[in-house]
Each structure stands twice: as C-alpha cells, then as structure tokens.
C-alpha cells in the first residue's frame, strides 16, 4: 500500500489530501471530497461519464490516478453553473431536452465545455465526432448535438 499527500486545485479551490496510490481521480472527486457530479459508469475509459477537465484538456477521470493530479487544475461539472444560474451550455441542455436520466450528462457537459474552449464555432460533424467518446443510453444524441450548437451560438453572443 502506498499513500501520498497531494495538492491540487479543484474548481478554483485548493485541495490537500492524502490518497492511496491506486485511487483513481473519479473516486477521489466523489468519495474523498464529495463532488458527486462526476459520474462513474464503466471504469475503463469507454463511457465518458467521468469526463473532467484537467489543466484545460478533457480527460477520463477513471483513467487517471489521483496522485497524478498532484499540482493540477481540475474542473468538474460543479464548476459550470448553479441550479439558480445555469451556464449557457447547461441552459441549452435544458431547453433542448438533451438529458433524460442524466447519468451521462456531466461527462457530456464537460466534453462539450472543453470543445467550446478550443473551437468556438464547431460544426455538427465536429460535435458528433467529439461526442463519440461519450455514451448516452437515453437521448439518441441528436438533442445533445443541438444543445451544443445552441451553446456555441450563445457563447459567441449571436443568439
């Protein structure tokens, strides 16, 4: 067994913790610091439910060890908006009915958030390509793509 002390930033706040080396980042977020917005579906990198943003890039939190996030800047779905004040992307999901059970939603949101930061005007095709890394068992994806397009427009201020 090997435990380590780590220091990282989660949603803008400094976090210090002692973690077992084999603990993955998703479990760390959920269990050690209580941020249960990040979901865990498959634990082997297939479903995308655990997607978070690490140092500006989207990453599968189930495929990263918490110790590897030492010194990193991690953003989770909790950073996007609040129930009273949804982010543009969350609002677009709501307006377009882009979620049903909601299990995949945090991963969908963080993936699209990461995309919109590098590509402000994605095409439908680009969005579909990026979402190939996130599984949804409910919606059929079309509404999610619509919501991503709406959010991109809203963020460009053209809507």
């Amino acid at each position: 067994m090997s435990a380590r002390k780590i220091n990282l930033t989660v949603n803008g706040e400094a976090v210090e913790a002692e973690v077992e080396a084999r603990l993955n980042l998703a479990d760390f977020l959920r269990q050690a610091i209580g941020l249960t917005g990040t979901h865990v579906g498959c634990e082997h990198g297939v479903c995308g439910a655990c997607t978070v943003i690490v140092d500006g890039r989207p990453a599968r939190a189930c495929l990263m060890l918490a110790v590897q996030a030492d010194g990193a800047k991690v953003e989770t779905v909790e950073s996007l908006g609040t129930p009273e004040s949804l982010s543009e992307l969350q609002q677009a999901f709501r307006d377009r009915h882009a979620l049903q059970c909601g299990f995949c939603t945090p991963g969908m949101l963080m993936t699209i958030e990461a995309l919109l930061r590098v590509e402000g005007s994605p095409t439908r095709e680009e969005i579909r390509d990026v979402l190939s890394g996130n599984l949804c068992r409910c919606t059929g994806y079309q509404a999610i793509v619509d919501a991503a397009l709406d959010a991109a427009e809203a963020r460009r201020g053209t809507r």
Partner: protein, 289 residues
C-alpha cells in the same frame, strides 16, 4: 472494478527512472494510461510497482531535422494532432490521429504508450511501420536503437525488454509533395479498427511512382508492410491494375478472427481499406505541399 494495490513511483529524471528499472521487480511503466489503467482496473495486470513517467520533463516533444521527425515517447496524441510542423511534413499523421481513441483520450494518450502496448488495431504503430521508424530505447545496460521491423514481436508484444523504456521514435521524412492516404473501418467512430491501411506515394515528374509505402493494420497481430506491392508499384504509373494487385495482396494476409469478425471478412476489409488508402494517396490534390 478498482486497480489492485501497487507501490507508486514518479521519477523526475531519466537517471532516476533507470535506477528504478534496475532495482524493482515486477514493475510496469505508466505513460498516458489509456490502455494500462483499464487493464489495471480490470485486474488483467497486477504489478507490484507502477513507475509513472509523466513527470520526466524531457520525454515529450516533436523535433524536425532535414530527413527525420523525432517524436518523444511521451508526446501526447493531442499535441501530435495539433502540431503544424507535423501536419506540413507528414500530413497522414494528423489524418490518422482523428481515429485514435477519442477527443477525451488523446489529451493524455501518448505515441510511446501506444507503440509499447501494441494493440493490433492501433494506428500509431502502423504509422511507425509506414515511416520506417527507429525506436530509441534505454535501460540500465545503456541505450540501443531498434528498427521497426524488429519492434513487433507478436500479439501485444514489442521488443522493449523488461528493464528498458522507450525514449523516442524517429520517423524517416518523405519529400514535400508526397501523396498520402489513410483508411480504416471500425464499427463505431473511435472503436478499434477491424482493418485499416495507410499509403504514401512519391511521384516522379513523368507521373511514374518513384517510391511507395503501404501498411495494413488490425489484420495480423502487428502492422504489415505490403513490400511486394511497393516494389511492383515503383516505376509504374498509377492504374486500376496496380490497385487491384495491392487489394489482392492485402486480402491474402493471415487475418485474425475474433468474436466480432471472421478471418474471411477481415481479409475482405483489408483489401477494401488498402484500395481506398492508395486511391487517396494518388489523388493530386492530396499530395502534400
């Protein structure tokens, strides 16, 4: 499932890494983690020691010289895809990377990790075969260069010895203006390819083929260069006969069968993707400038 317990090491320099490799038993190297961590979570592997090489500063990077492109083993697939230098000198790499995992895995997945894990369907080892790569490895007994033909040992098995690590991969540059084509067939975008092919063509002024390289992957346990076809192509102009010959050779490979796909179907697909990749490579508009 969760990973089994292990002792974690994160060396900060190549010397420290070599020290650990010399000393530790049953250790595994952790690169981008996009294949190894799933294997840990499934408990398919249970190393006593995990050596994380993500914090060694100089293992990543893209360097161009007059006749080579040298890629640090820890260069992320995301950074390969974003590199304008690479897109200009070897445009097939960016095209192939769109098929490597997903947006969310290329951020961490590395070229070295892919080339050491050696999934038969992996695109990056196939590109290494296409560009006559040399693998620069090192360990407690010093460094050595492994030619791509010696790198692929078998199913999920590279020439990397237990106490070695991969430092960088050297790809041979093709002249500006070469043609390139890449094609793969997977059941869903981002899934492992059932069969894939890449092709590079260099044309002389009289439109005859001066040099050709064709690789087929996902069909046999490692990528396969169609050397005979390449030799036939040289000196010819591009034609349907040439395409048919290439497709026929690809369809004659010793294809694997699995629960999803029979060997016969895989052989058929090998011919189809080879034909598509070569056709792309011969299109004048696709020739790199």
């Amino acid at each position: 499932m969760k990973a089994p317990p292990f002792t974690y090491h994160d060396p900060r320099s190549r010397d420290d890494l070599i020290g650990l490799l010399a000393e530790l038993e049953n250790a595994k190297l952790l690169a981008g983690g996009q294949s190894l961590v799933p294997m840990l979570n499934f408990r398919v592997v249970a190393p006593d020691h995990l050596i994380d090489i993500n914090r060694i500063p100089d293992l990543a990077g893209i360097r161009l010289s007059a006749n080579a492109v040298v890629l640090g083993a820890m260069t992320r697939q995301w950074d390969l895809q974003a590199s304008a230098d690479l897109a200009a000198t070897a445009p097939i790499i960016r095209e192939a990377l769109a098929h490597v995992g997903h947006f969310q895995t290329r951020s961490r997945g590395t070229i070295g990790g892919s080339c050491c894990h050696l999934d038969p369907a992996a695109e990056l080892p196939a590109l290494c075969a296409l560009f006559d790569a040399e693998f620069d490895v090192a360990g407690p007994n010093g460094a050595r260069i492994v030619k791509v033909g010696d790198w692929f040992k078998g199913y999920l098995e590279s020439a990397l010895e237990e106490r070695e690590y991969l430092q960088s991969i050297r790809l041979r540059r093709w002249p500006a203006g070469h043609g390139y084509g890449f094609s793969e067939y997977a059941r869903r975008r981002g899934d492992f390819a059932i069969a894939g092919a890449g092709a590079l063509l260099e044309f002389a002024e009289d439109a005859r083929i001066r040099r050709a390289a064709i690789v087929v992957f996902g069909v046999e346990p490692g990528p396969v260069r169609l050397v005979e076809v390449e030799q036939i192509l040289v000196g010819q102009t591009f034609s349907e006969a040439v395409l048919a010959e290439a497709a026929a050779q690809a369809s004659a490979l010793d294809a694997m069968a699995d629960v999803h796909v029979s060997a016969a179907y895989r052989r058929h697909l090998a011919g189809v993707v080879t034909r598509r990749a070569l056709t792309e490579a011969a299109r004048p508009a696709r020739q790199a400038v």
